[in-house]
Amino acid sequence: MNRRGIAARLSLIVALAGILPIAIVGLVSVELLRRRVERASQQGLQVIAEQVAERTANYLANQQQLLRAVASVANDEGRLEEVILDAPGLGTVSVLQADTPASKLPRGLRTEALAAITERREVRSKVYSPDYSSSAMDVCVPARALGPRAACAQLDLRELWRFIQRIKVGSTGYVLAFDEAGRLIAAGLGALRPAVVTGEEVPQTRAAASVAKGEAAGPTRYQGADGEPVIAAWSRLPTLNWAIAVEQPTREALRSARTAQWLLALVLVMALSMSLAVGVWESQRVLRELEIEERWRTAGRIASGISHDLGHRLRILEQTASLADAGDPAFLPRISDNLRTELETLKKFVSEFSDLSRNLRSLELIPLELSAFLQSVRLTAGPYVQSANVRLQIQAPDVPLWVKADRHMLERAILNLITNAMEASPPGATIQVSAIQAGGECEIEVLDRGDGIAPERIPQLFDAFDSTKRTGAHLGMGLPNVKRIVEAHGGRISVQSKPKAGTIFRIMLVQCPPPEKEEPARRRAQPSSSSGPSSRVMP
């Protein structure tokens, strides 16, 4: 992962760690706010419903009271009829007596109207439609000043319509009035007014009938007439057995809570974005400083290793020079050995530095068949193995295994492990190099039976300049290089070691399908002498 990626990841972790608690607290708060707003809206609607019910009851009671007052004093039938000119809500007023023909009796009362005459009591009809575009209710009261007669008014409920239709709760809330059967008699919502005209049922009819009869309190949340969710409050007119419903779409009733939710979301997004932006910028700056510091530290470690190892080499060369200065021919063989050895050591130095300087990002990864590859490794390592007096045993896989690899670099990594194994192995020992398939991966294993590695050293085994062989020709760059190479191939390396028993290095590489022209590729990768059994032992 590059510096930018690391910075982004760090920032995200920090940002989430900071924002998440705020988000949780915010969401809980908004939910509490929403519930509180809904409760408050519900209570507000309830107050309105009760006020509407009270005013509706008062209006009808006032009309009845007016009729009662006029009927008790008017001693002229004509004047009683003319009362509607000053009180249009009374609709029409007629005077009845015991022999009034049935056709002249109020439509909503008929025989009940006669009770107002004979029993001298007030009677009231249900709501009905005298024609298709109005609602009325008949009321008869004894006309005391006219003897055994009754004054009957066909109350015009258009005033009630007006009153109900004018009430706006917020900008979209409205009021509905129902009679005792749940029939809609006035509606503040235009979409429901066809039911006022036709008397057809509306979705609220059943609930309204229950409320009107005092059987239930009425639902508080449901789908409104146009399918929109509403919150509602109900009230009952006990004198008339009517029900009043006040409905308000939740989108309006809970708008403040919704706004708070959106604001919170906006704040969270902004906070997260700002945290990420600042975090990335700051992390990149810190990482850049760390990188510079790390470079200096690495340079110091390299300088320390080089000065230590080259100092040792210089001392040997100084001693060799002293031997040469002595001019004694007997020292010539020793001088020659020293120079050859130091030359070889310095070559290794150069080789390891060369590996370090190689850019592994530009590896040329091509399909590589491991059986042929290991045979190639065997041929390359052969002379060294022989000189070290150990045996190299190659165990090729039973089936062709293909990986995508830079053949040269992968070979250098395996040879490095073989070299380490050779140096750790006693004379006559066997080093085993094998390849097998493990899941979707290929495993290359290098095994020796040497002294093993102390357990405490294993965690730092792949760190640069951390070799146990610093007194020799080692900069401690071998295993770190192997790890670099393996990781550059998208693989990984692990080590398993037991003191006095030996060490196993395992390289895991991603298996790939064989190339279409497998045979030519195989032929190119395989040396001509590699045909034969899958397991070969080399002295």
Binding site: G78, E81, E82, I84, L85, P88, G91, T92, S129, D131, Y132, S133, S134, R158, W161, R162, Q165, G188, G190, A191, R193, P194, V196, V197, T198
Partner: protein, 376 residues
């Protein structure tokens, strides 16, 4: 009737100013109380594109009860019936001819579908942002029709009553459009019983503004009314109301109250009022009376007219009507009132709110519909 003007054109139609205008006639001259001379416009065409010929006009006039004779490029017309008014007949004389799929007119629309459930009219020459199709939908009852309008099944509902207007209040889908109707509410004074002076005194003695308010809206002042003066008569007057409309009943009650002690019994009856007036059994009849177009307005009170059951006779009015001087006829009626003119009724219509400039015609309600601009 509502769509007649969209499909068929009147040969002569009343203008707002009280005269005549025409979309099919090039010229017209009133020759006498029963005779007109008409000249057909040269470019008038039926909706199928065929030119209108003099024979088509003659046939159309005959269908309206008018005889037409072609003479030197002109058509001279007179009523087929001796006692009919040519002006009244012209108000129903539309230009048409029979086509293979029904009658063809010269209006902007043509009938596309006609069955018991609906009539569909298509615009003959479509115009951008104007109504291209009119469909008249039939409902089982006025209640269902109005409920259908509230449900959004139709885009317009004409001739609303006060209850419908109340229920449309706050319904954003519709806009309320109003125009004066052809009728006024009047209290016709029985000329069989009252002299000119008595009628004048009676008309002056009532508070017309107060009576008009009893109508409950939808009725505008019909000219200026002088302040009420007391009347010396103490004879109880018998009132009748021609119709069962609650507003008419309220107006009648208000009139009775305005007459004070003279107001007596009140009959609300649609059937008997006219005959009671003719028989002199009623003093005053409250009723709707056609007052527009002017060519028709005064004819009810013409001496001896079939529907003049009030016994009214005014030679000056008769003379003005004979001369076709309707303005003078109006003045004569104001000078010698056969009735107390209380208020002019309004016609109401709920029109879809997308229509930008809806107006109702003075005679034919939908005559301006072809010009209504519609928001897409």
């Amino acid at each position: 009737m509502m769509v007649k003007g969209l499909v068929f054109s009147l040969l002569l139609e009343p203008s707002t100013e009280g005269g005549w205008r025409s979309q099919v006639m090039q010229e017209w001259i009133r020759l006498g109380p029963r005779t007109y001379r008409l000249k057909l416009g040269p470019s008038t065409r039926f909706s199928d594109g065929s030119a209108v010929k003099a024979d088509d006009v003659i046939a159309s006039l005959a269908a309206a009860g008018i005889r037409a004779t072609e003479r030197e490029g002109w058509l001279e017309i007179e009523p087929l019936s001796a006692d009919a008014s040519i002006d009244t007949l012209l108000l129903n004389a539309v230009l048409f001819k029979d086509g293979p799929e029904g009658a063809l007119g010269t209006g902007p629309f043509a009938v596309a579908v006609q069955d018991p459930e609906r009539i569909v009219l298509h615009r003959v020459k479509p115009v951008t942002d104007r109504i291209g199709q009119v469909e008249l939908v039939s409902y089982a009852s006025p209640r269902e029709a109005f409920a259908g309008a509230l449900r959004g099944e139709v885009d317009a509902r004409l001739m609303l009553d006060p209850g419908e207007i109340e229920l449309l209040n706050g319904v954003a889908r519709f806009q309320l459009v109003r125009a004066p109707s052809l009728h006024s509410i009047v209290a016709a004074l029985n000329s069989h019983l009252f002299s000119r002076a008595q009628r004048k005194a009676l008309a002056d003695s009532v508070d017309v503004d107060e009576i008009r308010q009893a109508h409950g809206g939808d009725c505008e002042p019909d000219g200026s009314s002088p302040p009420a003066r007391s009347n010396p008569w103490a004879v109880p007057l018998k009132l009748g109301a021609m119709g069962t409309d609650p507003a008419l009943a309220r107006v009648s009650l208000a009139l009775r109250r305005s007459l004070g002690a003279r107001g007596s019994t009140l009959e609300l009856d649609d059937q008997q009022i006219a005959s009671q007036m003719a028989a002199g059994e009623l003093d005053i009849a409250v009723m709707p009376l056609q007052v527009w177009p002017p060519a028709v307005a005064g004819t009810l009170f013409r001496t001896g007219a079939a529907r003049n059951q009030f016994g009214y006779s005014n030679p000056a009015l008769d003379e003005a009507l004979e001369a076709g001087d309707y303005a003078r006829a109006q003045r004569e009626l104001a000078d010698d009132p056969p009735a107390i003119f209380i208020c002019r009724r309004l016609r109401n219509a709920a029109i879809d709110a997308r229509v930008k400039n809806p107006k109702l015609g003075p005679y034919d309600l939908l005559e301006s519909l072809p010009d209504w601009e519609v928001n897409p």
